[in-house]
C-alpha cells in the first residue's frame, strides 16, 4: 500500500500523464490501437481520425479512445471466450475463483510482510488464470460427447479466423445462384 501511495504522490506520474495525453497523442493513440487484433480497421481509423481532432480536445478524446479500445478491442481479442464457456461449469469456476482470491490474499499478506506486494499480486493473478484454464480444459475433456468442440476450441484459440471458416458451407455453388459466382469465366 505504501508503494502505491508513493506512486500516486509522485510528480513524475502526473508529469508522464501530462506529457502523454498533452504532448504525445499520436504516439499514445498508436499504442492504444495495439489492443485491437492485427488487421482490425480501427488500427488505421483512430490515428487518422485524431488528425481531425482539435489540439485542446485531444487529451479527452484520447482517454475516450482508450476506453473504446479496452472494451471493443479486448472483446475481439478474447473472441474464443464464448467457446470456452461451452465447457465451463460456472459453479465450479465460482468456487475456484473464490479460492484463487483467497490464495491471492494470502500471497499478498505473506509477501507484503517482506515488502514484495507486486509479487503477491502476480502470484494471485497467475493462480486465478491457471485454475480457470485447468478447470475449463478438464471439464472439456471429461465431457466425451463434446470432444469435437474441444478441438474447435483449440483451433479457435490458435487461429482467430477458424470460427469464420467452419461456418462457410462446403458447396457454395449449391447455395448461390449462378449469377453470383465469382471467378467463373
Amino acid at each position: 500500500m505504501n508503494i502505491l501511495t508513493e506512486i500516486l504522490r509522485s510528480p513524475w506520474l502526473y508529469g508522464a500523464f501530462l506529457a502523454g495525453f498533452g504532448f504525445m497523442p499520436p504516439i499514445l493513440i498508436r499504442v492504444f490501437v495495439l489492443i485491437y487484433p492485427r488487421g482490425h480497421e480501427r488500427r488505421r481509423e483512430l490515428p487518422a481520425e485524431m488528425m481531425a481532432v482539435p489540439y485542446k480536445e485531444r487529451p479527452v478524446w484520447l482517454a475516450d479512445q482508450l476506453g473504446l479500445a479496452l472494451t471493443e478491442g479486448l472483446r475481439e481479442r478474447l473472441h474464443w471466450l464464448p467457446v470456452v464457456a461451452v465447457f465451463v461449469d460456472w459453479r465450479r469456476v465460482g468456487i475456484q475463483f473464490v479460492m484463487a482470491i483467497g490464495n491471492a490474499g494470502l500471497g499478498i499478506a505473506l509477501l507484503s510482510k517482506y515488502g514484495i506486494v507486486g509479487a503477491g499480486l502476480m502470484l494471485g493473478t497467475a493462480s486465478i488464470l491457471l485454475i480457470s484454464i485447468l478447470v475449463s480444459v478438464w471439464r472439456g475433456v471429461r465431457l466425451g460427447g463434446r470432444r469435437d468442440q474441444l478441438v474447435a476450441l483449440l483451433l479457435t484459440v490458435m487461429d482467430p479466423a477458424y470460427h469464420l471458416t467452419v461456418a462457410e458451407p462446403t458447396d457454395t455453388r449449391a447455395k448461390n445462384p449462378p449469377d453470383r459466382w465469382i471467378g467463373d469465366p
Binding site: E41, R42, R44, E45, P47, A48, E49, M51, A52, V53, W61, D64, Q65, G67, L68, T71, E72
Partner: protein, 105 residues
C-alpha cells in the same frame, strides 16, 4: 437492432445528408455521442448492412494526413434509419426537433 436514443441521434445525423460520406469524429460531434458509444453503433450498422465503409483515396488526401475511414448509408440503411428517426419523433418530438436544429446550425 435495439432502437435507443443513441441510435436515433446517429440516425438523425446520417439522414440529414443521405448521400454524403461521414467520418467517425464528425459523427461523434454532430450526434453529441462519445466514441465509446458511437463506434459500436457504427459497427452494428455495418454488420446489419445499413452502412457501407471505405477509405479515402490517398491521392486526394492533403499531405501529411493518413486517409480516413468513411461511412455511407446504403439503400437499406436509408429505409431502416428513416423508420428509426420517425419512431424517435413520435416518442420524443421535442428532443428530436432540438437535435435536428442543432445539427442544421
Amino acid at each position: 437492432m435495439r432502437h435507443t436514443g443513441s441510435l436515433a441521434a446517429v440516425a438523425i445525423v446520417l439522414m440529414t445528408d443521405t448521400d454524403d460520406r461521414h467520418w467517425g469524429y464528425e459523427l461523434s460531434k454532430k450526434s453529441d455521442l462519445r466514441s465509446g458509444v458511437l463506434y459500436p453503433i457504427l459497427a452494428r450498422m455495418l454488420s446489419a448492412g445499413w452502412l457501407t465503409d471505405g477509405w479515402e483515396d490517398p491521392v486526394t488526401v492533403a499531405s501529411g494526413r493518413p486517409p480516413r475511414r468513411y461511412y455511407q448509408l446504403t439503400d437499406r440503411g436509408r429505409i431502416e434509419l428513416g423508420a428509426v428517426v420517425s419512431e424517435a419523433r413520435k416518442r420524443a418530438p421535442v428532443r428530436t426537433a432540438i437535435h435536428a436544429v442543432r445539427i442544421a446550425t
